[in-house]
Amino acid sequence: MGSVANLIVFYILGAFITVSSILAVTSKRMLRAATYLLFVLIGTAGLYLLLNYHFLAAVQLSVYAGGILILFIFAILLTTPKGDHVEPGDKRRIATGIVTALAGVIITTLVTLKHHFLYVQPAAIVGDHEINMKIIGSALMGTEKYQYLLPFEALSILLLASVIGGILIARKR
């Protein structure tokens, strides 16, 4: 029963993500494209919840949907002159894009379906497997094998550098 409900939720999320991502790249108005990107990111958080990665879903919602989307919306409001920006379509480039995307989807899907992955037992996947926050915290702060203090610190330096760079580049003189 629970797995059937999971399947239904997955198909709803998959259709939602597919439609929203197509609309995000074909919409003529930038603000609408940003809104569809928000829908895609929320659907992705739903997929993480289905996979029982609750912490990852929370990070996705707060960093992507809360932080990056606000940046996008402010940048769109700052740089779009008269509210709307309708791009004149370049037929040849659109045809090239559609052919590239369709060929890529077909080839990748065929390869994915033909390949036999080495699954573990299905019982290890379904069921309640929420990861304890204590495990995540000690893995993020430890220095032993399968622990990630060094990438964490490198990432904090990267964030600091990008903050300084962002201020320096966008500052008014």
């Binding site: 790249v25 573990v120 760079g165």
Partner: protein, 102 residues
């Protein structure tokens, strides 16, 4: 139960829709939105592989976590650059930004 391939197909579609947007869009911010789609699909793949193939480890989840943080930094710098370009050229259309071409 949900097969792993179903997740992979969803993320494949998201990836190539992002590539389509990257090829066809003219606005710099729209190109950046397409890049966000591509990064997002890759992060879905990391966590799906982790959950289905190696459920006792956490590598894929941490890779997604760091990927989200790196894409946040990348977006902040890119938007700063785009705002600066707009301030100098009054335009963020990729066809008009050719000052640095030689």
């Amino acid at each position: 139960m949900i097969q792993m391939e179903h997740y992979l197909i969803v993320s494949t579609i998201m990836f190539f829709v992002g590539i389509y947007g990257f090829v066809t869009r003219k606005n710099l911010l729209a190109v950046l939105i397409s890049i966000e789609l591509i990064l997002n699909s890759v992060e879905i793949n990391f966590s799906v592989f982790n959950r289905y193939l190696y459920p006792e480890h956490l590598e894929g989840m941490f890779f997604s976590l760091f990927g989200i943080a790196i894409s946040a930094a990348e977006t902040a710098v890119a938007i700063a650059i785009i705002i600066n370009v707009y301030r100098r050229m009054q335009n963020i259309d990729v066809r008009h930004i050719d000052k640095m071409k030689f």
